[in-house]
């Protein structure tokens, strides 16, 4: 596959059924999906896989929450930014908790082993 081509594989989806939409799907991929993935990678330092998930999540949010007024494209970019920030924040918090947990458990282990030596 050449660089930049969408590789959407619909499992079990008959080819004939997707033909009328193939051009639209490819257009959407180039106009919206890929630029939003690039934005999340560039601005939020996400991996391509994480960025892809964030953008898909933003699309789901857009289906239910996008209002009729204002600039839809700008709204979509903002949602991607919020979701990417949330993802990074959650990761940082988890990493911090893990770091603390590892530190406290190793202290506990050390004190337990010291206690055993005392015995």
């Amino acid at each position: 596959m050449s660089s930049g081509e969408p590789a959407v594989r619909v499992p079990g989806g008959p080819q004939a059924e997707s033909v009328p939409d193939a051009a639209e799907i490819e257009a959407f991929f180039h106009e919206f999906f890929r630029p939003l993935v690039r934005r999340a990678v560039r601005r939020h330092r996400l991996s391509t896989d994480d960025a892809r998930d964030v953008v898909q999540e933003a699309f789901v949010v857009a289906l239910t929450k996008m209002g009729p007024e204002g600039n839809a494209a700008a709204w979509l970019k903002q949602v991607v930014d919020f979701l990417a920030i949330n993802l990074n924040r959650t990761r940082a918090r988890r990493a911090e908790l893990l770091r603390r947990w590892v530190a406290s458990s190793s202290t506990m282990q050390r004190s337990m082993s010291l206690g055993m030596e005392d015995d």
Partner: protein, 480 residues
């Protein structure tokens, strides 16, 4: 127009639903290798900096977009010195600006340009701080006269980085005039104090001229006409010293813009042709188009609407070949306004829709705020007061965001007039009372003093006089 925006959203939601239906439980493979993009970005940066790249030979495909995105990431993370970062950001900004980007509903090109501008902006602030402050060694900082040996060895921009700095500031002029005014003033002072310490003397003079010209434009946007005139005088002095005819022609254009805002349309129409002729002779397409736009708006304000429309349609046709979306959007907005004034609302709305599409997802800027005002006027002309009010309020919010106080006051009067049509006199009074101090303080209507007094008195009696309000608005329109 509000309906048009809703249609756009509905269409996008339909496309999203279609996309999600096709990609549910599916692995969307993106053929993208971040490491490879990063390597390509570094090569591209080198080629851009060395000036070895012609944009005409490049196709903006996914591969190039990926590389440019990685390149902007590199600029953000770069550990280069402030002048180097400034130079790199400016070069990349100029390069991206020259690329022709098709099918860009998310305004990715504009985002990349703005991110480059932000990087350059940060470098500029760092440079200014380095020059004006230095560490005293005891943990505190003190203001330091610029131009000392302790500071300058770390920040000596050459002509390239000055040009990059100007490009970046120019990029923010329409969307952040107050910031451009502030930074331009700081940098001008820096050049002035550092005479002899930064590069060659003509480089200092060039920097001063360009920065003063920018400051003049920024103060004009902010409605501070005396300041704008002073800055344009400074720019003229620098360009005269350099014997730079292009710089002098740009100052002349800026002065004509200022005269236009003061309502001196006859003067603008009389003196614009030689300036435009100079730009055309030099092949400066963008500048000559801006002159034609100014000429058309002056014709419109002078009541020569047919000539204005014909000129705008001609320049819009010739602009289609180049990629200057903000200028094209401004031209379309003016075409729409002229249709609206002729009572051709459908044509006006069609032009406004095209202008909205061109501005895309741009941040708040002067062109957007003006466009909203035109849309409001079109709704108002059709008797759709609620839609008009909404558009005017949105325009006012944009002008307030841009800190354009004179325009904010002007919009308040429009809103007050619409509120009176909607039989909401108390809210109209509040808008007028909020606008009058600015109108008086900024001396926006020297010849409309009587109308201000009349309106003030009628509001004081809690019986707003719509005729006084309209008279004042007309005075303001003539001097806007």
């Amino acid at each position: 127009m509000t309906e048009a925006l809703s249609d756009n959203t509905a269409a996008l939601q339909l496309r999203i639903a279609n996309w999600l239906a096709h990609t549910r439980d599916v692995d969307i493979a993106i053929d993208s290798d971040q490491e490879q993009a990063s390597r390509k970005a570094l090569k591209l940066r080198q080629a851009i900096i060395e000036g070895n790249l012609e944009t005409e030979s490049l196709t903006v495909d996914e591969d190039l977009k990926e590389t440019l995105s990685a390149l902007v990431s590199h600029l953000v993370e770069s550990e280069a010195t402030a002048p180097e970062r400034l130079r790199h950001a400016g070069a990349v900004c100029q390069f991206i600006n020259r690329l022709t980007w098709t099918d860009d509903p998310l305004a990715e090109k504009r985002d990349l340009l703005l991110e480059c501008a932000e990087i350059g902006w940060a470098a500029i602030r760092l440079l200014v701080e380095k020059v004006t402050r230095h560490d005293t060694g005891n943990g505190s900082t003190e203001t330091h006269p610029a131009g000392t040996d302790r500071v300058y060895p770390t920040c000596q921009p050459n002509r390239d980085s000055i040009a990059a700095l100007i490009e970046l500031l120019r990029h923010r002029l329409d969307s952040y005039p107050s910031g451009v005014a502030e930074v331009s003033t700081e940098i001008y002072g820096w050049f002035q104090n550092a005479a002899g310490a930064i590069g060659l003397s003509d480089e200092t003079c060039f920097g001063q001229g360009e920065v003063a010209l920018l400051a003049g434009g920024a103060y004009r946007h902010l409605g501070k006409r005396d300041d704008a005139t002073r800055w344009l005088d400074r720019a003229e002095v620098s360009f005269r010293t350099l014997a730079d005819p292009t710089g002098l022609a740009r100052v002349s254009y800026a002065r004509l813009c200022l005269r236009h805002e003061m309502g001196d349309y006859g003067h603008v129409l009389a003196f614009l042709p030689p300036v435009r002729g100079f730009f055309e002779h030099r092949g400066m397409l963008q500048e000559s188009m801006k002159c034609r736009l100014l000429e058309a708006v002056a014709l419109k304000q002078s009541g020569r609407r047919e000539e204005a429309l014909s000129l705008l349609e001609r320049i819009h046709f010739s602009l289609l070949k180049s990629d200057t979306s903000t200028l094209a959007a401004r031209i379309l907005a003016e075409i729409g306004d002229l249709h609206q004034l002729r009572g051709e609302t459908a044509k006006a709305m069609a032009s406004f829709s095209k202008a909205i599409a061109l501005l895309g997802a741009s941040e708040v800027c002067l062109a957007r705020a003006d466009l909203k005002m035109f849309i409001g006027a079109a709704h108002w002309g059709e008797g759709q007061c609620h839609a008009a009010l909404k558009a005017f309020q949105s325009s006012l919010a944009d002008y307030a965001h841009l800190k354009m106080v004179a325009r904010v006051a002007y919009m308040r009067l429009y809103i007050a007039d619409t509120l009176l049509d909607l039989y909401r006199p108390r809210e109209a009074e509040r808008e007028i009372l909020a606008a009058l101090p600015t109108i008086e303080a900024q001396k926006m209507v020297p010849e409309g003093f009587a109308a201000v007094a009349l309106l003030k008195e009628s509001v004081r009696r809690r019986k707003t006089d719509p005729n006084a309000l309209r008279e004042l608005r007309e005075h303001l329109q003539a001097s806007k």
